[in-house]
Amino acid sequence: MNPAGVDEKTALEHGLTAEEFANFCAAIGRVPNLVELGVLSVMWSEHCSYKSSRAVLRDLPNDGPRVLQGPGENAGAVSIGDGLAAVFKIESHNHPSYIEPYHGAATGVGGILRDVFTMGARPVANLNSLRFGTFDHPRTRYLVSGVVAGVGGYGNCVGVPTVGGEIYFDRGYNENILVNAFTLGIVRADRIFRAEASGVGNPVLYVGSKTGRDGIHGASLLASSEFDDQTEEKRPTVQVGDPFTEKLLIEACLELMEREAIVAIQDMGAAGLTSSSVEMADRGGVGISIDLDLVPKREAGLSPYEILLSESQERMLIVAKAGAEEQVREVFRKWDLDAAVIGEVTDDCHLRVLAGGEEVVDLPIAPLAQGAPVYERHFAQPTKQAELQRLSLGDIAAPGDYNRSLMSLLASPNIASREWVYSQYDHYVGGNTVVRPGSDAAVVRVKGTNKAIALSVDCNSRYCLLDPYVGAMTAVVEAARNVVCAGAEPIGVTDCLNFGNPEKPEVMWQFREAIKGIRDACTALSLPVVSGNVSFYNETDGRPIPPTPTIAVVGLIEDVKIHCKQWFETEGDLVVMLGRTREELGGSEYLATLHGIVRGTPPWIDLSVEKSVQAVCLAAIREGVIASAHDLSEGGLAVGLAECCISGPGEPLGAEIELEASIRPDAWLFGESQSRILMSLKSRHLSRLREIAGQYNTPLTVLGAVRGSRLRIGRLVDVDVHEMRSVWSGALAKWMQGEAP
């Protein structure tokens, strides 16, 4: 055992505080050596230990009748009946994607896929949630094209359809973009695999790609410290993804899982071999001993430190049943992949690592894992918050020309059609896609059943900046509403909490407020949060990003045939709106785009009203009384109507809408009041819809009808639908070419 203990200075260089280092030394009764310090530093990094968030995250509801696996495993799982489970999780890859957009985004997709199939689930759908700076920033176009190409490059080649997502542009992300990737998989409920090592003497196998110097101190440390001018030096540590190998790894692992060979399995993500072995041992209350000489390597001369911390992609760690080694090798040989026994499960609850016959690590598991610090960080409302929320509508002039206002909103980067993005993603592979990107939620059929899953991911970070509590609630209810508009019952949530530096009281305040918002919204809608991810230190030169708690909601459709899309179907149908429009313009896209104002309070949410609105919509779709349903979000009623006219695959349809001028017209047209859904239906179904709405005493307004080839709203708006479509659908491509549409 190499005794050369390290000093405090080295510990600080590894991102530990003096106190943390002292505590650990006390816990193990000696000073760790350099390799052990490397292990400690990644295990105690924010990324792996959740030391700043764990205490707060406890507030999130994560239980419910459908929950099969809550937070704590590689991914969450909820029952969808028929003995099947939906396994899903969302994860961030923000800093790597800023440094190398293509491979950063690609390896983000690869990582989340492994989290899901490591549980035995076949990945069937991906979503991606993206945030970039504005187009006047010199790097934005480079970052957007790289990230989108990377998400597609990996997902398309690995054979999992990318069926939805979101993309927003805001100054606040100019130097710190967000790339959050979501994967959903399907597994037999009684065949869920977990990462809990057990069985002293069981072999530990390493499978997948060989180990190289990739990403050493990459994800773990990158994601745990702010960006500064030193960042350049971290560049070479960015990993490169190999989706082809991942595809083979998926097939090999799922095939092996059909046999009775596996005790526990876990992907090697951030902090690779170290975190996977420590976490597996910790969950099982056992020890693990591995010999680095047996690890398949890509290049010569890797030090024990490098091998333990390497973040080479497409690798998994398996605890197999004693005697099953050959079975494992056989399956991986079939798929032309490496499989090597590198160690075994032990009873001493230590991590022991051999290299060249020498023991280079001998650490007790407990202090590395549960022993990680938990901080109650200080929090304080930003002093400017009240000022930020002050908005006097009186000073805001109503537009002279509402047609032009609508057109410029349709061309704005945050509202324009996302087709430029999702046309670069395969949304057919797997053969289950029912509703492709372009409607409120994607719908994916569950093979072998009549069922389908609806998916949406959402977050309006402008709302979150103005009021993180309301903003986070909105993210939950909008994602749920999107799923409901497709005809699905929301059954589970996963969240990706992207925030600034948690050591800053203002950021911690934003974080705590957001958690409260998610908690209250999920509780009201009885939605369990079964998995998630926290990404702190999203700052550049001290400026935090707008708080961005991204929420993905998974919904269940009992009969795949009974689902709904957002666009108008037939000339002559009635156009109605569920919910009520209030005079709310705070934080709206309208104020930001047309008045350059980002302030005020975001639209308020009455959770009981939201609940009723969703219940009415779901009942109406299930009874088959409505032809289309579209949730109202950015751009409000006018933009929502426009999208219903032009977002369908066929010829665009017009509409004649009456104006209800009870409030100021721009608020009525472009305000973003929550809990509203636009529907179209046959007039003969109106009375039935009224009854349903009545049962939940939910306001229902008949706005007009689908008619002609122009969108007419009172005497304020009158535009040709083809004109609208060409502007809306071409805008993002134009922004990407550097032309403002």
């Binding site: 190398e100 070479p236 490169v240 082809f244 890509r298």
Partner: protein
């Protein structure tokens, strides 16, 4: 002038394409090959004289032709039409 640009994966950076190609060559019976690395070879005509063409090419490589994070590049400048 004629310019030839060579873009290669940085040493140590994973090169899945090279890896797959090496495997393919082995499968075809070319066991004697190893360390296969796949890069790009870009040829172009550039107006201007050697000195400033070199400077411009360096810009092109850094801005577009090579990805400095994972790739190295070098270039040669010669008279047009000469192989």
């Amino acid at each position: 002038m004629q310019a030839k640009v060579y873009v290669t994966p940085k040493a140590g950076v994973l090169d899945p394409a090279g890896k797959a190609t090496e495997r393919g060559l082995h499968a075809l019976g070319f066991e004697e090959v190893h360390d296969v690395r796949l890069g790009r070879y870009i040829t172009m005509e550039v107006d201007g004289d050697t000195a400033d063409v070199a400077a411009r090419l360096d810009d092109m490589c850094r801005q577009l032709l090579a990805n400095g994070v994972i790739e190295d590049y070098r270039f040669e400048i010669g008279e047009s039409g000469v192989e």
